[in-house]
């Protein structure tokens, strides 16, 4: 029986092989060598626009050094890296690669030169590691990254606010009617505050705030374990319309969804940020975080033409909301979001020379 089975398999395979070979012979376009795929071929470009002399002979050009991006593992980090990668690959024609990393390994890879560009260095959270690396000269700042961002220790859903109009400022958490809203089994009779990701600077800051506001007896900080867990917990609460008190930051997909799907969110009032208050107990709101693009110093020698581009990069709130909004609504992959962004928004074209922008659009279409 076993042998008969092989006869059939052999026979089928032989038939398929003959059939394919026959088709191959009939097809005049078939060539024995594999065709390059996925990236637009130079011949295809020439056929479409033979007069365009600006086009590089080969894009990406394999003789150029490969530029490696740190793909930071959160939405804005991934989107920025994907857009920049498309521009570097299809505009400047460098071969590119991206390595998915979280904050700390991402920084380490940049310092070691395993990656060349990291689109988001959050200074407040990484201040020590970043200043050490700057002093050693292994990395450099290449200008501003995200500009419009906020983080807040005491965020609640809008529906909680609507149901409790008297809950206005952080001080109101000391009232039983309000802190008991956020009580759970593990919060020891206090309000449960979902804190920042363990080990990050914001975790310490939030704990310090709880103490200096005198909220120790009213608020219990809960460690969410990771960014993904924090987001999932908040989403579940919003979906169930439960009262929840949490630390978060924006612009992010979650806060975008909170705004569009769950009726919005409310940040409990705190005194405005000032350096004095920050140095004495942090009894005020967070200031704007400084977010930079970080590069490995080698980039200046291997791809000097990218430096002005990165310095001109300006991923402001408009750009960020456009990209993240499109992602949230279409449920698209990060790469599709980058393509959409390049094809449907205008501002990025001012970050690069005209011919590079034309190159990007042309290669995307091809």
């Amino acid at each position: 029986m076993k042998v008969t089975k092989y006869v059939w398999i052999f026979g089928l395979m032989a038939l398929m092989a003959m059939g394919l070979a026959a088709c191959g012979a009939d097809d005049p376009t078939a060539t024995p060598t594999p065709r390059p795929q996925a990236t637009p071929t130079p011949t295809a470009m020439m056929e479409e626009q033979p007069s365009d002399t600006m086009m590089a002979a080969e894009c990406p050009d394999d003789s150029k050094p490969e530029i490696v991006f740190t793909d930071l593992d959160w939405t804005s980090g991934l989107i920025q890296a994907a857009i920049a990668e498309q521009i570097v690959q299809l505009g400047y024609c460098y071969p590119t690669d991206g390595i998915l990393l979280s904050t700390i390994p991402g920084m380490q890879a940049l310092v070691n030169g395993d990656t060349h560009i990291s689109m988001e260095i959050w200074i407040p959270n990484q201040i020590e590691a970043w200043s050490t690396a700057l002093e050693q000269g292994t990395v450099e700042n290449a200008g501003k990254s995200l500009e419009d961002n906020w983080q807040a220790t005491f965020v609640i859903p809008q529906y909680t606010k609507d149901a409790n109009p008297g809950l206005v400022s952080v001080e109101d958490l000391k009232k039983e009617e309000y802190y008991s809203l956020f009580e759970t089994v593990d919060s020891e009779g206090k309000a449960r505050l979902l804190n920042c990701i363990p080990g990050w600077e914001c975790e310490k800051v939030n704990l310090e705030k709880i103490e200096s506001y005198g909220l120790d007896d009213y608020v219990e900080s809960i460690n969410p374990g990771s960014g993904a867990a924090l987001e999932a917990e908040i989403r579940a609460s919003l979906e169930k319309e439960e009262d929840v008190l949490f630390y978060y930051w924006g612009p992010t997909t979650l806060m975008h969804d909170a705004q569009t799907k769950y009726g919005g969110y409310y940040i409990l009032e705190e005194e405005e940020y000032s350096d004095e208050c920050w140095e004495t107990g942090k009894k005020c709101a967070y200031g704007l975080a400084e977010v930079y693009i970080g590069i490995n110093s080698d980039l200046k020698t291997i791809a000097p033409d990218l430096i002005p581009f990165l310095e001109a990069w300006d991923f402001n709130a408009g750009n960020q909301l456009a990209a993240e909004g499109y992602k949230a609504e279409s449920n698209a992959d990060i790469d599709d979001v980058a393509v959409w962004f390049l094809q449907n928004t205008e501002e990025w074209k001012t970050w690069v020379p005209e011919d590079i922008a034309a190159n990007v659009l042309h290669n995307l279409a091809g």
Binding site: V7, L20, G24, P36, Q37, G199, I222, A229, K240
Partner: protein
């Protein structure tokens, strides 16, 4: 298959079969490989390399959206079942943790040393004493007790699930065949995949961590309970039947007692796997040694991470040796009574 095996006496069919029968598998596989390469070469020259699967036949994304919707639906609509489960686990865990923290550490160390000494011998007793003092010296005592509470709850729930399921699987081949692929999936599915739904369903913190730990750790206990009962020799079962046992008596008085060493080996493995999960559990907010490791890594402190890691290893070795020695003792008692 009737088609493929021509009737005897058909000269053609016999000829082909004889021709192949003379070939060893080596030639058949070798020939297959050559044909594979030929097909690949022809296909690649026809369609080019990196041939993509036609997009109109892909359904992964559409399916994923449905799964997302389903998870949200369960979160909202089954909250009335899930929330009490979550609160129950949490209450139990908080109590147990408070108890572990309440017992003064010298008492805990003396008790653990005494158990290790009695069950696993003098050397293990000394090891337990020294390593637990070391744990305190690392400043990990509180974390270790938190981890112990988490492991204890996860293992208790695992045993509670594994015994009935294992017994069912031992008594019915159908159940056995049904649960086998499920157990395989539970052991190989990356934990990150079910961590996020676990949070949505049970909330951040220990309940989700317990769920994730149980999913990963329960299969060996089920498998070995099943195996242990099936391994009880047919002779013994027949003898018991000859004395007129009911099938319930057979299970409770013969099969389970004789399977206990194997079941304990399963529980031992379950405990080890639960300990292996503590760092992943910390990603959903479980405290303890896993959180120490997670926190150290997020601040680039490899030294601190190593301390936490050593703490987990110490707990694992003590629990492993003690439960193994207990299983062995039981095994020897059984053998003794049989002889």
């Amino acid at each position: 298959m009737a088609l493929a095996s021509p009737p005897i006496g058909n000269g053609m069919g016999r000829g082909v079969r004889d021709w192949f029968a003379g070939l060893s598998d080596r030639y058949i596989y070798g020939g297959g490989a050559i044909i594979f390469l030929m097909l690949a070469w022809i296909g690649a020259s026809l369609w080019g390399s990196n041939l993509e699967f036609p997009e109109r036949f892909t359904f992964g994304k559409a399916l994923a959206v449905r799964v997302d919707d389903l998870i949200f639906w369960i979160t909202v609509n089954l909250a009335f079942i899930l929330d009490p489960i979550s609160d129950g686990i949490l209450r139990f865990l908080v109590e147990l943790e408070d108890f572990f923290q309440w017992v003064p550490w010298p008492v805990t160390i003396i008790a653990a040393t005494a158990i290790a000494f009695k069950v696993a011998g003098r050397r293990m007793g000394i090891f337990a004493l020294v390593s637990l003092l070391l744990l305190g010296g690392f400043g990990l005592w509180e974390s270790a007790m938190e981890t112990m509470a988490l492991i204890a709850v996860a293992v208790l729930i695992s045993i509670g699930l594994a015994l009935p399921i294992g017994i069912l699987a031992a008594r019915s081949d159908l159940v056995d065949a049904l649960i086998r692929p499920i157990l395989d999936a539970m052991q190989t599915m990356p934990a990150f995949v079910y961590l996020v739904p676990a949070i949505m369903f049970l909330g951040i913190g220990n309940p989700a961590a317990v769920l994730a730990t149980v999913i990963y750790a329960v299969p060996p206990a089920i498998r070995l309970t099943n195996l242990g009962i099936r391994q009880v020799s047919p002779g013994t079962v027949e003898a018991a039947r000859a004395f007129g046992t009911t099938s319930r008596q057979l299970l409770v008085k013969v099969q389970i007692p004789m399977a206990i060493p194997t079941i304990m080996a399963g529980i031992n493995q379950t405990t080890m796997m639960a300990l292996a999960m503590v760092v992943i559990a910390s990603l959903v907010g479980a405290g303890g040694l896993g959180d120490d490791v997670n926190r150290a890594l997020s601040q680039f402190q490899p030294g601190n991470a190593l301390n936490g890691g050593i703490g987990i290893v110490i707990l694992a070795i003590i629990i492993d040796r003690v439960t193994q020695a207990a299983a062995k003792e039981r095994q020897e008692a059984l053998m003794g009574s049989r002889n």
